[in-house]
Amino acid sequence: MFGLANPQRFMSATRRLPAVLGVAAGLLLAAGVWLGFTAPEDYQQGDTVRIMFVHVPASWLSLAVYAAMGGASFFALVFRHPLADAAARAAAPIGAAFTALALITGSLWGRPMWGTWWEWDARLTSVLVLFLFYLGYMALRASIDDEQKAGRAAAVLALAGLINLPIVKFSVDWWNTLHQPASVFRADGPAMTADILTPLLVMGVAYTVFFAALWVTAIRAEVNQRRANALALRAAGGA
């Protein structure tokens, strides 16, 4: 982690990473989609259960990306890791997009399943609050002109929002919710059979690799942006 703190070393180490990860993500997504469409129908839900293969990994990622953002913010704040700040900033819009995807696909699934587009139960509400945390982070980051100050203030906010993660995860256990309880990440192990669990896990890995590809690309873009700004500043100062 700290070996890659040097931006030069980070850039040279990750030069081919976005392409590799992108190709891997594409292959995994293709495999996941194929497995998802060839999985057996659910005896109750029929074909609509297949939305699960899009919705559930998106929800997993929305939590994981916030955790990554929180971790990066911690490193930025405490260890003053130079790339951690860029990493946190890069992760925020991606995480917000995953959260929005989870909310929208969940709504599309809820309509045939529960008869309603939206319900204010604990899981949906806490994920919506998670989305608001992402938006607040991005808004705070964008509103402060000084880049370093903005980064540090946003890092404090990201750490404060970490408390929402266990609330989202355990909301289906702590409250009476319409959303179904945990079926995969439980103390007793997954409650699904392999023919439904495998596509789900493949899609989960595919989404994670996809996120990694996007994240590394965005961090590299951030480093290049800062270099470009420095060059522009030097050119303006010299001229």
């Binding site: 609050v129 608001l132 705070l140 509103s143 402060i144 002109d145 100050k149 203030a153 404090v156 906010l157």
Partner: protein, 221 residues
């Protein structure tokens, strides 16, 4: 200790003395509470159902009011720099400001909350619990709001930004406080919601000053 008390008294006077004291917050609170029956109609049954919740929404929104002035004013005229250099640690400064915010704003609003709830049709047994939950919730609002205000120091469009940053943090006390009132109105046990509300507010009291101090130090650097 005397420095802390002096600072607390100063903050209290600033929050209370200028602009009519608590009247501004109370006026806003009354305005919001009045908008609700105008919007959803005067049907008593519908109003009774939402009365505790509306009282809590108005509390959260009124708490947002004075947040912009809390640190921004001292930041602009240099007082925050002096406080940062002074004998009192910034954490204690944040504590004093939060407590003053609660005393000057939260307390009057906590007195107004049962009145609003009753006027909107809540049963009168709810009044004592409304007052106590509003009081404790106000503590949570003051400290998390103060943290948000410090984070947004020096930002453009500070007022709206503070609201965007702070409203997700206001969600848990609203959920638990209004939830406890709803539970009592339905005859269920209100103590779990109340306990979580108190836990949130005490946690905010304990942890937010540190985050607030870090944010102030960041803004002043």
């Amino acid at each position: 200790m005397s420095a802390f008390l002096t600072l607390y008294r100063r903050e209290l006077e600033l929050a209370w003395g200028r602009g009519g004291g608590a009247l501004l917050a109370l006026g806003f609170y009354a305005g919001v509470a009045t908008l609700v029956p105008l919007a959803i109609g005067p049907d008593p049954e519908r109003l009774t159902a939402v009365a505790p919740g509306v009282a809590w929404i108005a509390l959260a929104l009124s708490a947002l009011l004075s947040l912009e002035r809390l640190y921004e004013r001292d930041y602009e005229d240099g007082t925050l720099d002096l406080l940062a250099l002074g004998p009192v640690p910034l954490t204690v400064v944040a504590l004093a400001k939060g407590l003053a915010q609660w005393t000057a704003g939260g307390l009057p609003l906590a007195l107004a909350a049962p009145v609003a709830a009753l006027v909107l049709g809540a049963p009168s047994e709810l009044a004592p619990l409304t007052f106590v939950t509003a009081l404790i919730g106000g503590l949570g609002f003051a400290f998390t709001g103060g943290m948000g205000a410090a984070l947004a120091l020096g930002a453009r469009r500070g007022g709206v930004l503070i609201a965007v940053v702070v409203l997700p943090l206001f969600c848990p006390p609203v959920i638990f406080g209004a939830g406890a009132l709803e539970a009592m109105a339905s005859g269920l046990n209100w103590t779990p919601g109340f306990a979580f509300l108190a836990a949130y507010s005490l946690g905010a009291l304990a942890l937010c000053p540190f985050a607030t101090a870090a944010a102030i130090r960041n803004a002043l650097s």
